[in-house]
């Protein structure tokens, strides 16, 4: 028991902080814990916050779809590469977004997407556009940032389930004359399904609760829930309101994760029955 104690002591502030948020969210006053009231949850039903919830769900869904669209081919490539050097190069390329500071990565996107940035000068030179396109401080910029920062969260689980996947079915399908497209959609994707669902749910949960990327790449114009919660704290000093909004955000992520877990166990059970 003595061996477990130091770690529990370190975890204690976290547990206390979580209880604090829960208690604050049903407090009667907005800047102190006093009395009980559900007024702060009721206030979340105002159009301002509902718009923010809608935007959060929209961007999280879009970024999850794009992320998975890129992650599956990357995982296939990584599973196919045999040389240790190339494998290591690719692993570190994919890991990079996860390790580095979100602030610094946003600086990078500002220089890629900005009016004089790499993307605009490339498009101008190619003659595809006549004047710089606004790609920063709107939903597009935030979406790109979300996809990039969560790519490793999608690639590694998919790669994991790809490594344990049996190649026999694919070879059999190949000898029977199935095209690569057909065996991809009829064999690879169904076999990867549990891994895909759990990876997608992690990406969704992370992007729904994103803060740094919408703050830095969206400016004040893209009010995802994270940014809205921060605004309740800082200019408005509505602590209880921010707590209630935070609990709502936790619920959104937990429901997604739970649904994904249910879906994966369900999918696995179905496979076993067959």
């Amino acid at each position: 028991m003595l061996l477990v104690l130091p770690a529990l002591v370190l975890l204690l502030p976290f547990l206390a902080a979580v209880l604090f948020v829960l208690r604050y969210s049903v407090s009667g006053e907005s800047q102190a814990i006093a009395g009980w009231s559900l007024a702060h949850y009721q206030a979340l039903l105002e159009p301002f916050f509902l718009r923010s919830v809608g935007l959060t769900l929209k961007l999280a869904t879009l970024s999850t779809v794009l992320c998975m669209l890129l992650a599956v081919p990357i995982a296939m490539l990584m599973a196919a590469v045999a040389q240790p050097l190339w494998r290591r190069v690719m692993t570190s390329l994919v890991l990079l977004p996860m390790i580095l500071n979100l602030l610094i990565q946003s600086y990078g996107w500002m220089m890629v997407l900005g009016p004089t940035g790499a993307a605009n000068s490339l498009l101008l030179k190619a003659g595809l556009i006549e004047q710089p396109v606004q790609m920063l401080f709107n939903e597009f910029g935030v979406l790109i940032g979300l996809v990039q920062t969560t790519l490793p969260l999608a690639v590694f689980p998919v790669l994991g389930s790809m490594r344990v996947m049996s190649q026999d079915y694919l070879e059999a399908a190949g000898t029977l004359g199935a095209t690569p497209w057909r065996s991809f959609f009829d064999i690879t994707l169904p076999l990867l399904k549990p891994g895909l669902i759990s990876a997608a749910s992690i990406v969704f949960a992370f992007n729904a609760s994103a803060f740094a990327i919408p703050l830095l790449l969206g400016g004040r114009r893209v009010q995802m829930m994270g940014v809205a919660i921060r605004d309740m704290i800082s200019p408005l000093f509505d602590w209880a309101g921010a707590s209630a909004a935070g609990v709502a955000l936790i619920l959104i992520t937990l429901v997604t994760m739970a649904a994904a877990t249910w879906l994966t166990t369900h999918a696995v059970q179905l496979k076993e029955v067959r």
Partner: protein, 284 residues
């Protein structure tokens, strides 16, 4: 499928589409970092890409900002860099000192408790960082209001420790798995007390995992932005927060040079971990 992705005989369209998507994904993943590194060597003052000339002048400016200048004022870059390193060091030491005994207890005597304890310590990763930021802010504000005491550097260290705990624990656990019970028992049969056996036999054998955990803890603390953004005060701010307040109106090449230095430090540390654990380290 690996075969179908590479073999030349397979129909071209599948291979082309998959390779194009994978290539696009890898470019997207690395693009921001590449652009920062290239731009930090730019010779001109504007941030137009690509730069017209190359120079090291922004690194001179960056070192001047970090180490020259007025290091007395609390808002200086040097002060915030020192805070970042101190908080990182506190996070490293605290998490490792807590996780080594915990990993020992879980592997040797954990039984069916083990998975629940592991789950408990992974819990902070499920919580949105914004909510954690709000939670710690409310907690520390209330504490200050009731007792009048300021937390100082601990304002940032306490949340960073919780974020790093799961990663350090996982590394210590996988290191502990490699330590057989027989060596410890041999030491004890030769007359060592259980404590001596643990300190002299088990801990040295866990060394690679412990080191990897220490480095991960530092990387996590050093790169943390969201919670620090809620918790910082005029006196206590980390390097990323200092960079944010400097660039809130516009980005300048000096900040990019500092960013490149941080990227270099991160990459060096990760390469070091990779060497220590030889591919067995677990960030996930």
């Amino acid at each position: 499928m690996s075969a179908s992705l590479w073999s030349r005989t397979s129909s071209g369209s599948f291979r082309a589409v998959m390779l194009a998507l994978a290539g696009l994904g890898l470019v997207v993943a690395a693009l921001p970092v590449l652009v920062i590194v290239v731009m930090s060597f730019s010779g001109d003052g504007s941030l137009a890409f690509p730069p017209r000339s190359l120079s090291l002048r922004w690194y001179g400016a960056a070192l001047d900002v970090l180490f020259g200048g007025d290091s007395d004022s609390a808002t200086s870059a040097f002060e915030s860099m020192a805070t970042s390193f101190t908080v990182g060091a506190i996070t490293m030491c605290a998490t490792t000192m807590a996780c080594v005994p915990l990993a020992y207890a879980l592997v040797r005597r954990g039984g069916r408790w083990r998975q629940w304890v592991e789950l408990l310590f992974t819990l902070p990763l499920v919580f949105p960082l914004v909510v954690l930021g709000v939670a710690y802010l409310l907690l520390s504000e209330t504490l200050t209001r009731q007792t009048g005491s300021e937390l100082g550097l601990l304002r940032l260290a306490i949340p960073h420790i919780v974020l790093a705990l799961p990663f350090v624990l996982r590394n210590c656990l996988s290191a502990m798995h490699g330590v057989g019970r027989d060596l410890e028992e041999a030491a004890m049969s030769l007359g060592a007390s259980p404590l001596r056996a643990a300190i002299d036999v088990v801990v040295p054998l866990m060394k690679p995992g412990i080191l990897a955990g220490l480095i991960f803890a530092f990387i996590i603390s050093f790169n943390e932005f969201t919670i620090s953004f809620f918790m910082y005060t005029i006196d206590v701010r980390t390097l990323p927060i200092w960079m944010y307040s400097r660039t809130v109106s516009s980005l300048d090449p000096t900040t990019l040079a500092i960013s490149t230095l941080i990227i270099a430090l991160d990459v060096a540390l990760i390469t070091w971990v990779d060497k220590i654990v030889a591919g067995k380290g677990s960030l996930f």
